[in-house]
């Protein structure tokens, strides 16, 4: 029971750390905060492995530590350091709205997760709910933020949410599958960062209101 509580509490901590990522205006600092959040995700994987006895999850924790705590934040930090924090458009989410969105995401997730009856998630339903809420929070970040750099972080948050779902429900999948998903996620971040830099170079802005030429 204590194990379940620890896993569920750590999962809830993911939502809290994601709010920090959403609210941070400086890209470099947001990259570091994302690294911190990913470390929480690694802790969830480790706790899950320890309490459920699923040894595969130690490997998942290790690969998430390498890719999400070190590699992706490093890529983002390096790629986004050219972005001047002064030029960043203000976020369209105030802290109170972000909190309210997180609450709505949790309610929606609860409604979706409640009818699901899977042995793999029986003990960790709150964690499953949080993982889905985290996914929706990332989606909300993408939709509401005017800054395209923040949209990349929104995707990263979504990806961490789905990674937790994967760990909760599909930790027995062949290792190659987890590697495939992690690789795809890294490439997605690299590709988005590449285009964000090209847009910054061409438009001298990362404000997505500048990307409104194509209509109709």
């Amino acid at each position: 029971m204590a194990g379940e509580n620890i896993v569920n509490a750590l999962s809830a901590l993911l939502v809290v750390t994601s709010l920090f990522v959403v609210q941070e205006r400086q890209p470099k600092r947001a990259a570091l905060l994302y690294g911190v959040q990913s470390f929480v995700l690694v802790s969830v994987f480790s706790a899950l492995a320890f309490f459920s006895g699923t040894e595969e999850l130690y490997l998942w924790a290790l690969s998430a530590f390498v890719t999400k705590t070190i590699l992706v934040p490093a890529i983002l930090y390096r790629a986004l350091r050219q972005f001047d924090p002064v030029q960043q458009p203000p976020g369209s989410l105030s802290p109170s709205i972000a909190m309210a969105l997180a609450a709505v995401a949790l309610v929606v997730s609860a409604a979706i997760v409640t009818p699901i009856h899977l042995p793999a998630s029986a003990a960790f339903k709150p964690a499953l709910m949080v993982s889905l809420a985290h996914f929706f929070l990332g989606l909300a970040c993408i939709i509401t933020q005017r800054n395209i750099v923040k949209q990349i972080f929104g995707y990263c948050l979504m990806e961490n949410g789905s990674h937790l779902t994967l760990a909760l429900l599909a930790n027995q999948a062949p290792e190659l599958v987890e590697i495939g998903i992690a690789t795809d996620a890294i490439f997605a971040v690299v590709v988005m960062t590449f285009f964000a830099r090209r847009i910054q170079a061409a438009l001298h802005s990362v404000d997505d209101r500048e990307l409104m030429t194509l209509k109709g």
């Binding site: 989606l139 990806e159 599958v177 194509l214």
Partner: protein, 546 residues
């Protein structure tokens, strides 16, 4: 299994071609010749291998590789053949189109290595998507199609193409993330039912045991899958990236995106629909298909009519046609599903032809604006003729291929008791027809502007279009027997009796039930009949035949 090595060879061909194309960047002045040689060799080999695969599957073979992680079944073969053929058409067309871009100073010769590199990488990911039997690798490959094709969308590096590329990568990556949730839910449920992770990850195994899956979980999973992969397929309301991406990508890439990519995503949705129909009963997926289908057609039809940008018009036409395919799947039964699968092929070929034609217009007039593009038939007679044929094909006029699949879908709808829905659909198709008539009358016929030099483009940009038109006509007049056989087998595998549906929704007389299901239609004698093809019959080994 004999012939299974063909799957690996096809994948390796595209991968090696991509690597070789990227490597030619360092060759300087020799880049163009080297990369075009690599490109032509690769698409020719791919066509040969694709032809061999289609022949094997038409003969009843099922190809499997890597312990069943990769398969070619009739359903996948339908789409694999399309990807390879459209890859050839657009690949050949790319040569003339990009040479023109170099001559006009839009790109440098060394940029060709980047274009062809991503072109073949994109083909690789699409082939991986249609051959993947591993549920999660299926997702990975669909996600990979976005990451490779976005470089084609943003190829020119203009402000507008970067905007389109950004919207494309963000919307599709986010959309496909929904698909991952659906995928994970299905895997977790199957793993609980099968108690074997190695089997639970294979689509073929999950389908076999779908009856024992949890209904609520699979229903939620399918909703996620439809939203996720429906984003890539271009179903409304997740279609918003499509007009931007298609209009900004080089024309041959637009053709490949609409004919290849959208259908790859559609195949994945169909594969999950098969699982869902067996686990939950067919009404649930069919209802969702009907809703997304008619909404997509309803939103796209007026937008096609008002477009003044040729490529955006074609993009909205793609949204409309993907909706039409969804409608066919929603109608269900052997005839509805066969019509939907045939329409996927027919629309892919016709749209590839039209996007390439739009490339010729762009080369000749330097714009896609239909207020400026006038008198194409007088300026470039062959291109004008091909445009008229393509426009008529997309508007559903006989004797072109789209007419056949649209007619079959309408027939299936009426037969299944969806007369009102079909009438609404036909009204919307009339708007689409009016749009293409407006295109023909306003831009293709009429006097030529003085400022545009008369004379057609070269053989390199016309021959692939001629080939495309021949295929469009062939599929309209008589579906070749091997393709018809594969379509029949694919339909059979989709409408295979849902074991659970028997339990949950006892098969009833179609006359008594206005909402026929996959299962019920198998009991009727409504076998689908394609031109030149035997009637589609349910598999004899299914439980419902008892």
């Amino acid at each position: 299994m004999p012939g299974s090595w063909l799957i690996g060879t096809l994948l390796v061909t595209f991968l090696v071609a991509a690597a070789a194309a990227f490597a030619t960047r360092g060759l300087g002045a020799a880049t163009q010749r080297a990369v075009e040689t690599v490109h032509v060799i690769a698409i020719s080999i791919a066509l040969l291998i694709g032809g061999l695969i289609v022949a094997e599957v038409a003969e009843g073979q099922r190809l499997s590789l890597l312990d069943g992680w990769l398969i070619v079944d009739p359903l996948g073969c339908n789409f694999l053949g399309l990807v390879v053929v459209v890859g050839l058409l657009t690949g050949l067309y790319s040569i003339g189109y990009l040479r023109h871009d170099i001559e006009s100073g839009k790109i440098k010769a060394t940029d060709l290595s980047r274009y062809y590199g991503f072109f073949h990488l994109f083909l690789f990911t699409m082939v991986l998507a249609v051959t993947s039997n591993n549920l999660i690798m299926m997702w990975v490959s669909i996600e990979a199609t976005t990451l490779t094709s976005v470089f084609l969308v943003g190829f020119y590096g203009h402000k507008t193409s970067l905007e389109a590329a950004w919207k494309y990568v963000v919307i599709c990556t986010v959309g496909v993330a929904f698909g991952l949730y659906g995928t994970v839910l299905v895997f977790a449920d199957a793993n609980a039912a099968l108690a074997n992770a190695q089997s639970a990850i294979l689509w073929t195994e999950v389908v076999k045991h779908a009856a024992s899956l949890d209904r609520a979980t699979i229903s939620i999973a399918f909703a996620f899958v439809l939203i996720g992969f429906g984003t890539k397929a271009g179903l409304v309301p997740m279609h918003t990236w499509m007009p931007d991406a298609y209009s900004e990508a080089p024309s041959p890439s637009s053709a490949l995106l609409t004919a290849g990519l959208a259908n790859c995503a559609l195949l994945v949705i169909i594969r999950y629909a098969v699982i869902t129909a067996k686990a939950v009963g067919p009404e649930f997926p069919q209802t969702l298909f009907l809703i997304f289908g008619i909404v997509s057609i309803g939103v796209a039809a007026p937008l096609i009519f008002v477009q003044r940008d040729l490529k955006r018009l074609l993009a909205y036409s793609s949204v409309e046609n993907m909706g039409f395919i969804a409608l066919g799947l929603g109608i269900g039964g052997p005839l509805g599903v066969a019509a939907a699968l045939l329409h996927a092929l027919n629309h892919g070929l016709a749209k590839a032809l039209m996007f390439c034609c739009s490339g010729n217009v762009l080369m000749k007039y330097g714009t896609r604006n239909l207020d400026t593009v006038k008198g194409v038939l007088r300026v470039a007679p062959v291109t004008g003729f091909l445009l008229i044929a393509g426009a008529l094909a997309l508007s559903g006029a006989p004797p072109f291929n789209v007419f056949v699949s649209e007619f079959l879908t309408v027939t299936a709808g009426i037969k299944a008791g969806y007369a009102w829905l079909v009438m609404v659909c036909l009204l919307l198709l009339t708007v689409v027809l009016a749009s293409f008539v407006q295109l023909i009358g306003g831009s293709i016929l009429g006097p030529a502007p003085e400022s545009v030099r008369k004379g057609d483009l070269g053989a390199l940009t016309l021959a692939p279009l001629g080939l495309g038109l021949a295929l469009v006509l062939l599929m309209g007049l008589h579906v070749p027997a091997p393709i018809a056989r594969i379509l029949a087998q694919a339909t059979s595998s989709v409408v295979e009796t849902p074991a659970v549906a028997d339990r949950v929704v006892p098969a009833r007389n179609p006359v008594e039930n206005p909402h026929p299901t996959f299962a019920m239609d198998l009991h009727s004698d409504a076998g689908a009949s394609l031109p030149g093809c035997a009637r589609v019959q349910p598999r004899k080994d299914n439980a419902c035949a008892n």
